[in-house]
């Protein structure tokens, strides 16, 4: 537990953005993991298995939070409306991308894109696994990842432009 809790907390934070929610999701993940230890077959790495459990907890929390704060949905749209047009960012193609810029741009992505991108591109889950975690079809997962990458690139280039 001591060895993995920072990684698990980081995954939850990258999906949920809020430190308190991430801490709650981490606790929930370890509780689920403790109860389901018998189901851990040992053929995968413990961290990989733990990531799946944590992603499940974080996404459940995200769903509950979304239902609870429906009025906050507009926040994501506000962020997206501030993006520059694709044409203006195209001029920046090939620009060096800073790690910090990617990390902070990830936090600005709308929830549904962020979760898909974190699972696929940060934690290397397969599209099939991403779809299962998000309870959507594999095609829908591919679309989210594709659009999420495009939006992230726009945000990164916008940040570097400032």
């Amino acid at each position: 537990m001591e060895a993995t809790h920072r990684e698990v907390y980081s995954l939850c934070l990258r999906i949920l953005r809020d430190p308190d929610d991430a801490a709650e999701a981490t606790q929930d993940a370890y509780l689920k993991a403790w109860r389901a230890l018998g189901a851990f077959r040992g053929d995968a790495m413990f961290t990989t298995w733990m990531y799946r459990v944590a992603a499940n907890s974080a996404i459940s929390k995200q769903r509950k939070r979304k239902r609870k704060r429906e009025h906050e949905v507009g926040t994501d749209d506000d962020v997206m409306s501030q993006l520059p047009s694709t044409a203006s960012t195209e001029a920046l193609a090939g620009a060096r991308i800073e790690l910090e810029a990617v990390e902070s741009a990830l936090q600005l992505l709308p929830e549904h894109y962020r979760a898909a991108l974190v699972l696929r591109d940060v934690y290397g889950m397969s599209m099939d696994e991403v779809a299962k975690q998000l309870k959507i079809t594999e095609t829908a997962a591919k679309v989210r990842v594709h659009r999420g990458r495009k939006k992230l690139k726009e945000l990164v280039t916008m940040e570097q432009d400032e």
Binding site: E2, E7, R35, E90, A93, L117, V122, H146
Partner: protein
């Protein structure tokens, strides 16, 4: 193939899969699209490297996590006790409901009786 068509597909194949032959040919001769592909690849490499850069967990979280097995055992113990003695608890709850209901009915009947006798006395006084 036009740049716009190629750029639409770059986010997908920058991460996984292979671009079509026409796309590969276009990228080979178009510095703009090559730059775009390079940007995506660098961005995806940065994303991948985030996994090995965990953030600091809040103070006290580790202690809470360590306490989970103990807390969960306690909760599980209570749960299993309740589920093993479900019939007894259900019987107890039913008996409580019955007693409270009977007491309520008695109270209501007594109140009705006393208000009835008050009405009768008032009527007798009025006729007298």
């Amino acid at each position: 193939m036009r740049c716009a068509e190629v750029r639409e597909t770059i986010p997908a194949f920058a991460g996984e899969g292979e671009p079509s032959l026409a796309t590969r040919r276009h990228i080979a001769k178009c510095p703009g699209c090559r730059g775009e592909l390079e940007t995506y690849r660098t961005m995806l490499a940065s994303l991948q490297s985030l996994e090995s850069r965990p953030v600091d967990a809040p103070v006290g979280l580790a202690a809470k996590l360590i306490a989970i097995p103990r807390e969960a055992s306690r909760v599980d113990h209570v749960r299993s006790h309740v589920s093993r003695n479900r019939a007894a608890y259900a019987g107890g709850a039913a008996a409580t409901v019955a007693v409270v209901g009977a007491a309520g009915a008695l109270l209501w009947r007594n109140r009705e009786r006393s208000s009835g006798s008050r009405r009768a006395t008032k009527g007798w006084l009025a006729t007298a």
